[in-house]
């Protein structure tokens, strides 16, 4: 198919009639909105989490009040009963206060969802430049949050007025866990696992198992063998059916101790195990909130650079407007493939505009090609004379010939 010679067409004019620019813009906007899954999913998950916490709190408190009310000590006299019941009432008041707080938190999440949906609805109707600018800011904030540059993220969000469109508080929640893991504390991470138990289980996450393993290793490091065994019995044994191999390996550390030089066990005692726990936690956290596993910036940039990368980008005369004229972007694009083109595309050296049937290419006697628009204008200004901007040669407008490049 690739080698087939095209059937000659009677008219040399290239390309099918372009669809109207407005329609193209519309579909483009609609398509780019479809990429924004994370934008609407994260606040939804946050709302879900808040609602769940509120529900649990209410359920627990009401159940406690109920059972306590049923067991009210009637035998100790009426005064005691009244005291008891009054304490229950004040407990209910406390619950109501907390529920109001919870409702406010939910309201905030709802507002955030709505702001984002409105934003998306405006995307296909509104100003392209503004939408693209805001998108870039959102993507940058997302990147900063994932890289733990919290202060800069907050500042950028604030100056751009996009606090409702980024997930700073969700990430700050995760930051507590990340910080504690970096300080070699496991408890907050385990608490997080407990909070999200059912969903982690559904996605077959082994984060909790890994945390437990680390805690076990720490006990071995501290030479608390008995405690380690007890811990293993209680927390590790339940994972035996699914993760037997890892479990066995970790238990063998009891024999080898932290000073071992035996490679498979030595790595378990290395400090970068904690870093990998942080990474593991981040992955689970992203999954739970329906975020992409990579920063949005990396995804968008990689796609963009793949499309932009051509052999011409690496030549000396690459125009500055091409991001790939910069060393940084070139480095990022290094491992990516070149983009492929099916049709010739001619960019006029003078006007930088794309040449097409409306503005066809003209050839100078020296073989250099420019757009009709540019040469017409030059001829008008210089009494029919054309100066080739790249070689300096001067010709008459009448010497130019049309080229049909399909």
């Amino acid at each position: 198919m690739e080698m087939a010679i095209d059937t000659p067409s009677p008219s040399p004019s290239s390309a099918s009639p372009a669809p109207s620019a407005a329609a193209g813009r519309q579909t483009r906007a609609a398509e780019s909105v479809r990429l924004e899954h994370q934008l609407v999913r994260v606040p939804l998950e946050a709302l879900r989490a808040t609602a769940r916490t509120n529900h649990r709190l209410a359920e627990k408190e009401i159940a406690a009040v109920l059972s306590s009310a049923s067991a009210a000590p009637g035998d100790n006299g009426a005064a005691a009963a009244v005291d008891h019941l009054t304490s229950l009432v004040s407990r209910l008041h406390g619950l109501k206060r907390k529920m109001e707080e919870g409702a406010r938190a939910e309201e905030l999440q709802v507002q955030r969802c709505r702001a984002r949906l409105d934003r998306l609805a405006a995307a296909s109707a509104g100003d392209d430049g503004e939408w693209e600018d805001m998108r870039l800011k959102r993507i940058l904030v997302d990147y900063m949050l994932r890289m733990s540059y919290y202060d800069t993220a907050a500042k950028l969000a604030e100056t751009s007025g996009i606090q409702d469109l980024v997930d700073i508080d969700v990430f700050l929640d995760a930051k507590r866990v990340i910080d504690s893991l970096q300080n070699k504390e496991i408890a907050p991470a385990l608490a997080w696992c407990a909070e999200n138990k059912s969903r982690l289980k559904k996605s077959k996450s082994k984060l909790e198992f890994l945390l437990r393993l680390q805690e076990f290793v720490e006990l071995v490091r501290a030479k608390n063998s008995l405690q380690a065994i007890a811990y293993g019995r209680k927390y590790l044994a339940p994972w035996a059916s699914t993760h037997m191999k890892e479990l066995q390996r970790v238990f063998a550390t009891l024999v080898f101790r932290s000073t071992t030089n035996c490679v498979p066990y030595k790595v378990l005692f290395e400090l970068n195990q904690w870093d990998s726990l942080v990474d593991q936690f981040k992955q689970e956290f992203y999954k739970l909130y329906g975020m992409t596993l990579e920063p949005l910036l990396n995804i968008y940039l990689q796609a963009g650079l793949t499309a932009l990368k051509t052999p011409f980008c690496f030549e000396g005369n690459c125009p500055k407007e091409d991001p790939l004229s910069l060393d940084g972007f070139r480095k990022l694009a290094e491992p990516l493939p070149f983009s492929k083109q099916h049709h010739s595309k001619l960019v006029c050296h003078i006007t930088k505009e794309l040449m097409d049937t409306e503005n066809p290419p003209l050839v100078l006697p020296n073989g250099y090609v420019y757009s009709t628009k540019a040469l017409d204008e030059m001829a008008k200004k210089n009494e029919g004379k054309i100066t080739c901007p790249r070689t300096g040669e001067v010709y008459n407008y009448t010497e130019l010939v049309k080229a049909y490049i399909s």
Binding site: E2, D6, P8, P12, R34, L35, E36, H37, V40, A51, I62, L66, A69, G74, G77, A78, V82, L85, V89, K96, C113, L117, S124, R135, L140, Y143, T152, T292, E294, N298, I299, Y300, Q302, G304, T306, A307, L308, P311, F312, K320, E321, D322, P323, S325, K331, L332, P337, K340, Q341, H342, S344, L346, H349, L354, V363, G367, V369, Y404, I405, S406
Partner: protein
Amino acid sequence: MEVDTVKDVFDRVVKKQKLKSSKTIDLVNHVEKEIDQAIKAIQGNGTEGDSAANMTHEILLNLKNKLKEMAPTKQLKSCQKEMNTALSTWVKTTEKLFIHDISKAYRNVDMEPNVLNELIANHLYREALFDIGDSFIGEASCTASLKLKQLFQNMYEIHGALKAGKPELALSWAMKNHDALLQNSYCLELKLHQFQFVDMLKQGNRDQALQYARAYLAPFATTRKEEIQRLIASILWAGRLDQSPYTEFLSPTNWEMLAEEFAQQFCNLIGQSSTDPMGTAVSVGAEVLPILIKLMTVVTAKRDWHSMKQFPFPLDLRSEFQFHSVFVCPVLRDQGGDGNAPMLLPCGHVLSKQSTLKLSKNSSRSFKCPYCPFEAMTSGCKQLYL
């Protein structure tokens, strides 16, 4: 995409959420009321005697039964369940209408964080977010071009002044870079001088204007003859330009546009793109991602990304993102390259050098143009420079 559909589903979630909230509060209030009533009843009975104790007992038993009947936890559960159902519907709708996971298009190849961070820092500077850029460099502990920062600080200072209608800074900048700016077809310096000059004429300072013209406009006389002639002629109407043929000089200046023009020329001069490269790369990414995601399933099945020299499918871009001329031979369908220079046939059609050689059996005979009846020889073909 119908954002409206998502909104409808979302509204249902909100309704359930509101219902749940109010119902929980109702339940708590209800429980509280029952307990309150019990307290009142006990207190009303007096506190002495056996009968009172019995009554207390009975009241408590009554309360217990009532609360049990109410089964508040069960009601709570059903509310929560309804809300969860609404939420799940929403998840499903969004997953259907949006592209669920755009990282499908991502290939795990190294994106050096240091390089990326430096690009981000430079981006923040060029967007005039200097404080944020500094804060970013601190947190990311990366480097950035301080020279670039200073250049952009300088640019935004002049840009801001110009936007506010104060051309002095821009003018002194333009005069300093007189030679370099002359090569541009739009002459910023002359434009700025013109404002000063016309301003003097408006106030009727004919002599001052004339002196100004001698000093600053005269050097442009050879390159911008027409414009200078018109400007000088307008001196005749000093103080009453509104009645002159040159009223156009009085039209309110669009400082915003002038500032943009200045920024562009400034970037041009310091060898920077006048558009933000980070913004361009991300916008291009947003444009091709939908296609890329669709293609990716096919691509991964076939080939390994790392060994791929060229992406196997074309990713067409808007013309504003097309920075290079690309010639694809219509016969061989091959993309450019050294052996593939475009050759202009005498009939005006263009083929690659290789295909002209193939068609002419290595230049041994003439061949018919694949697009028209014209016969051509390779010697009659001319190489094109795009």
